[in-house]
Assembly symmetry: C2
Homo-oligomer: 276 residues x 2
């Protein structure tokens, strides 16, 4: 299988891709949209992209893409713990460090650590966390990088400390995009988007009644302005159950009558921790 | 008035702060959370922070802060168009450019432009869009920066082209945080958060019924995992109307009985374009 992901090597996106399909042929793309479009164009068999906020670009791109396409579905979901590491050149000492490289948002995620441990060190931006390891290795001055564990591994650098981000329980969700979604497993989730021709008070309430009366749980709901005019919204909803389950299928049929547009992104196995 | 914002000078956050209160004493902070905490600590009178996805850090920080504090409210809302510019040193030629500096996410926002106009140019990361103008001016090689118009103005650089981001209608919302929210104007919005002790199907549906039966429109709804355990959610909702309006006040009173926690972030004038 040819599996696309948001490159370069050594980012959390690559980590998610490896976790999803360790034996795949990995194909890095420079943007989230690039991965999604490559699945649509059948350049690759599947692609792994972040579906929640991440360092690596706009997740809105994925949702926009899914809303507009009929050729790509969500097939799988993964949760990757975001663990930043302090990385040094082999044999280098932590005390000598004069400059620290990373993606600006990763530097932001480690503000408390940096203020406490390296208050006087110069912070320098890199294009990606993985790229910061190369920048650190090529630095003229004693340097460190902040990047995922895997980036140190790839470049033969040393992890001086793990889990240095301020928020210890930071998890990012990724999805695998593919031409088809997954078959029912008995413990699934379905992602969908819908919108209305006009926004009357109570419209969303009536829609949620479709799920409530059937005992279908929502695991996510989000409204987003459509961009064209700020007064109109698309609703992004995840529900428990597979679109082929009889109860869910009935709900989706009723939903398609009530909304002016309904787009089913796909059904796929539910992550275990979500049922907690 | 002392008005905090997410620095440095020349970012969209500063632009929002200037639009909000042109006569204020502006105080830059290195992080979104820093601004919010300074309002809570009364170091500043008010602070302007992005409330939607932005280049400048995690917006979740603002919501987390608002959920945990009793000393800070949303007083105002602003929408700032995100317009990236190609910026050159005074008198420099666009054709000679060998390297382009910017925040990695701003480079990502201008991918189509860069691929079309500068396919062979080296891209180099800066800590902020505003910082990229300084990096460009100090560069040994012929360089450009991608940053807001205002950043060029501050540093005496030249704007070679405006609006080079791929998405032409990109708007980011900012809020002003203050000790108190705004008085009723007759055309207001109220932001709130609530959560339940347990997630039963239909709970959210019943909650939305409180608004629906009163004809109160929702302008935003979003569920977020609480982080501690992925199965529990906090709901972030914006409704039309001021918390002191009789109908809204009645709804909020019923809501506080039905949820295990209700937090009112504040009432403030509604942006005009939202009523479209």
């Amino acid at each position: 299988m040819r599996l696309g992901y948001l490159g370069p090597e050594g980012t959390f996106s690559e980590q998610a891709a490896i976790l999803y399909a360790p034996e795949a042929d990995f194909v890095p793309y420079p943007s989230i949209r690039g991965v999604a479009e490559a699945v649509g164009a059948r350049e690759i068999d599947q692609g792994v992209v972040p579906i929640e906020n991440s360092l690596h670009g706009s997740v809105i791109d994925v949702l926009d893409f899914l809303i507009r396409t009929d050729r790509t579905r969500i097939k799988y979901e993964l949760a990757i713990p975001i663990e930043q590491c302090l990385i040094l050149a082999p044999g280098a000492g932590r005390r000598a460090v004069e400059v620290i490289y990373s993606h600006p948002q990763a530097l932001g995620q480690c503000q408390n650590f940096l203020a406490g441990e390296f208050p006087d060190v110069e912070l320098v931006a890199s294009l990606s966390t993985a790229g910061s390891v190369t920048d650190m290795l090529e630095s003229d001055r004693p340097a460190a990088a902040i990047a995922p564990f895997r980036a140190a591994e790839i470049h033969g650098a040393e992890v001086a400390e793990r889990g240095i981000q301020d928020n210890r329980s930071n998890v990012t969700r990724f999805v695998a995009l593919a031409p088809e979604d997954s078959s029912p497993t008995g413990h699934d989730k379905t992602s969908l988007a819908f919108w209305y021709a006009s926004d009357a008070p109570g419209t969303l309430y009536e829609t949620l009644g479709i799920f409530s009366t059937r005992g279908i749980n929502l695991t996510k709901i989000e409204s987003r302005p459509t961009g064209e005019s700020l007064g109109e919204y698309v609703f992004l909803v995840d529900i428990e159950g597979h679109r082929l389950d009889a109860i869910v299928a009935g709900a989706l049929e009723e939903l398609s009558k009530q909304t002016s547009e309904l787009k089913i992104f796909g059904s796929y196995p539910m992550l275990r921790d979500e049922t907690a």
